[in-house]
Structures are given as C-alpha cells and as structure tokens.
Amino acid sequence: MENIIIEVKELNTYFDESHILKDVYLDIPRNAVTSLIGPSGCGKSTFLRTLNRMNDVIPTFKKEGTTLLDGKEIYDHDVDVVDLRKRVGMVFQKPNPFPKSIFENVAYGLRVHGNNDKKDLERRVEASLKEAALWDEVKDKLDDSAMGLSGGQQQRLCIARTMAVEPEVILMDEPCSALDPISTTKIEDLIHKLKNEFTIIIVTHNMQQATRVSKYTAFFLHGEIVEKGLTDKIFIEPEDKRTEDYITGRFG
C-alpha cells in the first residue's frame, strides 16, 4: 500500500440545506500530484477548501465525516487552524498577490508566523522565488509592488508565497485558468519540479493538463466521486461510462 497523507472517508458537506459533497471517499498519496476533474458546480472547490478549512469562514457550511491529515482529524477541536493552513497551503484560481512589494508578498507567511529575522527572511524569500522559477525575473525589483507583475508572474509569486511557509500539501484551484499558454506551461513545469517534495492536489478543467501533471485523478460528478485512480488508467480505459463521456468531451 502507498504512503497516504490525506484520508477522506464518508465526507458530506452542506451549505445550509443544500447537500454538496455526498459520501466522498478519497485517499491522497504523499508527494505526488492528484488532479480533481469534473463539470462546473460538482464540488471540486468545496472539496479542496474543506482540506484547509477555508470553508469555515462561510457561516452556512456544515461538514460530516472523516478528514485525516497524517492520521489526525483536521476538524478536531484541538486542531489549530493556523497550524493546519501552514501545513496545507492554497493557490487560488485568480492570482491574488497582496498590494505589497514582491519581497513582502513572499515574506508574508513567515512574518505572520513570527519570523522577523531580516537575514533569514531574505534567504527564504530568495529560495522560494527560485523554487517557483521567478527569481531571475524579479531579483532586481523585489521592492516593487507585486501588482505590477504579469498575471503569470503573479501566479508564480503566489506559489512562491505558499512554498515559503514550507507546507506539506499544496492545494491548487484551477491555477492556470486565468493565464496564457506560456505561463500555463511554466506553472506545469513548476508542478513537475515540486511533485517529489510536496503533495499537490490540483483542480483543473483542462484534460490535457490533468494527464500532463498528475499521477492520480479523481472524477467528481454532482458532489460524488464517480471514478478515481491512476491518471493513465482513467484516461485510457475508464471504467464508468460517465467518466468516459466527460473526458472525451461528450458532456453538457
């Protein structure tokens, strides 16, 4: 059996009365890329945001079931959300750098967690920007506002910002959907570079992207997981007719 970092069992979530995720079971292998695919509104983002408890800010959100990170239930009362989000980072669909300098964007998570050592911050900011393949483009303008970067650069900055706090898991919600093809390629290359060190869960509407970047895939439909497993298997010989219809584009 593989090394599983996240174990989801019997997960049901609700916004008020509307039942979004239904009896979801999913194991996420450590240090590999898992993609989540499925039509719009099927609950992919809700699933992702359950894993770092971002849904907690929505008052109507309710959750039942088990969500284990390294064997520990993340919704237990003794779990500190701050620690959880340090371990489980998130990159959003629309690049959302803070209106601060490039340096301060990457240093943000470290500062928030109490690191104010200038030398150490400089070192970590540089390392994260290099890891996110952005260093060469920004090393001469670290004090400039991050809002002046291109969309693709902003998204890599957001990835650098997330990596700076050294998470174990990175959740990516359609990280390339607002980007041009060249920036998309850069992000995909980045994911390849990171996949052995981090556990990455990526939501994508792009089937080619799923096959290019991920080892595992889960197909969501109306809040249920229809099929899951090795990406190659799912894309070459899906077991369920609905999966086949979706990946071949024969789907409303």
Binding site: L84, R85, V112, V165
Partner: protein, 285 residues
Amino acid sequence: MISMPRIISPHHAQKIMNVVLWGVGFLAIVILIIIIGYILYNGLPQFSLEFIFGNPVGSGESGGIWPMIVSTFYVTFIALIVATPLGVLAAIWLAEYAGESNLVKAIRFAAETLASIPSIVFGLFGLTFFVVFLQMGFSVLSGGLTLALMAIPTILRTAEVSIEAVPQSYKEGSLALGASKWQTIYRVVIPAAIPGITTGIILGMARAIEETAAILYTVGAALAIPMSIWDPARPLPLHLYILATEGVSLPNAYGTAAVLVLIILIITISTNYLVEKYTKKMMGR
C-alpha cells in the same frame, strides 16, 4: 429584438450627456475658483509678518492672528487624535466583525443621522456636557471634543466603505497562509484601505477646522495663545465670525478667511499627493 421608436440615437444621447457632465463639472470648478479667488483677492493684501505672527490689538481691529492660528491647530489636533482611533476602530468592527444584526443596523443609522445633525446642536451638546457637566469649562479640550464628535461619523463611514471595498481574495490569500483574522486585518486589509481611510480623516478634519457653530459655545473666545488644553481659545473661524458680525474689521475678516482657506488648501493638496504616492507604491504604477 423589437426595436423601440427612439427620439434620439444612443450615439447622440452619449454626446449630449458628455457635454452636460463636462459642463456641470466645469461649472463646479469655476464656482470654486471664484469663491477662493475672491477671498484671496480681498484677504491677501492684509498679509504681513505682523498679521500672521502678531497678537491682536483690541478685539482684532488691528494687529495679528497668531493666537487664532495656534488655537485652530490645537483644537483640530485634539479633535483628530480622539476621532481617528474611535472612528477607524468602529469602522473595522462594523466592516469585519459585526455581521448584520439589528444592533449593527441601529449603529449605522445613528452614525448617518449624526453626520447630518446641524453643528449648532453639537455646540449646545458640548456646552451642556463637556463645559458644564464634566466641568471642563470653555476650553480647547471642550471645543476639541465637541469637534471630535462631529468628525467621528464622517471618518467612520468613509473608513467602513473603504475597508469593505478591499477584495475578498486578499483576505483569503492571507488566511490560507495561516494568518489569523486580526493579522489579516492589520497586515492586509488596513494597508489596502489606507487611502480611503486617510481621505475620511481629511474630510473629518476639514469639517472640524472650519467649524464655527460647534465651538461657539465650547471654546470661549480668548484672544491670548492657549497654553494648555484647559485654556479658552479662539480658532480662526470663530475669530472671523466675530470680526465680521460685530463689525470689528472687514479687511481683517478677509485676511483671516484667506489664512483659513490657505491652511485647508495646503492640507488637502499635500495629503492628496501623499495618498497618491502611497497608492502608486502599493499598486505598482
């Protein structure tokens, strides 16, 4: 599509509206320039070192207005250091913590009502509450606190609107990095809202600095430089009011008005410049 008979084409309507809007904007600027120009035209000839830095002689027929300039800054400063933290903290609470209860609606309604109460009513309240009840007497403190009450709703409303305008995506980005709600507010939300908050403070200050009625009953009318917050004082608008209504000296009234106008112009223009510089730095270009 069913096409409706039209009186004028959208293209023409657009053109007409352009002319109207430009015209209205232009008119507003012209009126402003005429008023400021008229005051400066009549007031600037009074300017001299003695007028700005001297003490008044008699009740202001001649001599200078230095004590009034000092009084103005003193009273306005008191108003701002009281009103800014209260207004901004209340705005943060309303925008980020309060939710939508009936109590919150009542508070918002109260703030809006407060903003539209005539200033003379604030003056009367200041007289009965600060001057008499709290025994602060006619003083810089009574006047400053009365002005603070007037400025709070302005600061609160502008700050609340600009805090609410900060995109949700900034907050989510911060929370996702493990920041607490309060860290998110003071590290991301407030810096992003600073231009709006500053504008609110300046609006509140402008309201305080040129206010006459609210200080008429609270600050006294002393001609000497106030040495402490317990001393009575005579800010510029009050001096102007007395000079003009009691027929002391019309030229000096214009001179005083010109000083007041210049102070306000300098403060607004320089803050505008700083806010723009800050925004540029924050948003890059």
